[in-house]
């Protein structure tokens, strides 16, 4: 019973048990943590126009901009590897009260060790805000809020929403979104 195989087996089994135990403790220490912080979304302005998208046909598109300020530094504990931060525009399709639409306008990956402060004046949309039909013009309530997904070293993938959101009423007329520029396909 004291041969090489038995010893190797004992060493491997013990180190895997220790590693698994530590990983589980890592998960336990952060599983109940509240990852929400205050966010400021301000001074929103928006424009609407019609856009033609292959496969969707003629739909409404918006461009929304504004200021965004948040400090996510406190979220980085020992079990946070990366934050995936994204800005969502949420609205209800008029005349169907149970509907909801959510579109990501902007996202950012913040890895451990990088600056976790975001201060964007007149943020630039990264993804097109395209409705699947035409629910944007005169829409009284498009709400922008920030959300983030905490990716751990090992453990639960948690999503938290920033405290603080801002709504905007969309204009009732179409106006050009990208002047003097050819619009690309979706």
């Amino acid at each position: 019973m004291h041969n090489i195989l038995a010893r190797l087996n004992a060493i491997l089994a013990f180190s895997f048990t220790v590693l698994a135990g530590l990983t589980f403790l890592c998960f336990l220490t952060t599983v109940a943590k509240d990852y929400s912080v205050d966010v400021r979304v301000r001074d929103l302005t928006g424009r609407v126009n019609v856009a033609y998208v292959n496969g969707l046909g003629e739909v409404e598109e918006s461009i929304i901009t504004g200021d965004l300020e948040v400090d996510l530094t406190p979220l980085f504990d020992w079990n946070a590897k990366e934050l995936f931060v994204y800005l969502i525009a949420e609205y209800v399709t008029p005349n169907s009260p149970n509907s909801h639409n959510q579109i990501v306008l902007w996202d950012r990956i913040i890895k451990r060790g990088e600056s976790a402060k975001i201060n964007q004046k007149k943020f630039a949309q990264e993804y097109r805000l395209l409705d699947d039909r035409k629910a944007l013009k005169t829409n009284p309530n498009v709400t922008l809020f920030l959300q983030w997904n905490v990716i751990p070293n090992a453990g639960a993938l948690t999503t938290a929403r920033g405290r603080g959101s801002q709504s905007i009423a969309m204009p009732d007329t179409y106006s050009p979104l990208r002047p003097n520029k050819q619009r690309g396909a979706g």
């Binding site: 041969n3 590897k81 995936f84 509907s99 993804y127 409705d131 959300q147 990716i151 453990g155 999503t159």
Partner: protein, 188 residues
């Protein structure tokens, strides 16, 4: 020489163990082996029931979600219907005509309130959304395409299955070694 190595590794006594067994004990060892396999299967089936997902654990196979998930990382999925899909969720979905499920993030979602939900996905590490990956002409995914939503994460462990799939010989060697150990080794 060979017998020395075997002796050093303790293999000689292992075979002696086996030779000393009578028929009943051999059958008992085979049943023991079957028990271990069925326990593993039952745990998998149990997880399927608890998570409501047809595949509660998946291995990340591509780098399209880097730097969050790398090739070989392990994801735990749930797929409870009471919990609706939201923008930002990491979903594992299947595309018609493709065998391998894809792990990407929901970028855009439209729910008309009458049970029709459609959404668009994108990999964190990709420049554009996934419409080019979907079936020809498919613009949206629906909840029926979803295998599960990523709720837990453990790095590296899935590398074992990737290596076994890439080098089938390793897989058979490991299986034979495990089976041999369980069959020949007697708990004292």
């Amino acid at each position: 020489m060979a017998s020395m190595v075997l002796k050093l590794l303790g293999m000689d006594s292992m075979l002696d163990d086996f030779k000393r067994m009578n028929k009943r004990q051999v059958y008992y060892q085979v049943l023991n082996f079957g028990m271990i396999i069925s326990t593993a299967l039952m745990i998998w089936k149990g997880l399927m029931v608890v998570t409501n997902s047809e595949s509660p654990i998946v291995v990340v196979l591509s780098g399209s979600m880097e730097p969050a998930f790398f090739r070989g990382d392990l994801l735990f999925l749930t797929n409870h219907e009471a919990e609706p899909i939201k923008v930002g969720d990491i979903v594992v979905f299947k595309i018609e005509g493709r065998d391998i499920p894809i792990v990407h993030r929901v970028l855009q979602l439209h729910d008309d309130g009458d049970g029709n939900v459609k959404f668009l996905t994108k990999g964190d590490n990709n420049w554009i959304d996934d419409r080019g990956l979907y079936a020809p002409g498919q613009m949206w995914l629906q909840p029926k395409d979803v295998v599960g939503r990523a709720k837990g994460y453990v790095p590296y462990i899935g590398m074992v299955t990737i290596i076994m799939n890439d080098y089938p010989k390793v897989k058979y060697a490991v299986l034979v070694a495990l089976a041999g150990f369980v069959l020949l080794h007697r708990e004292s």
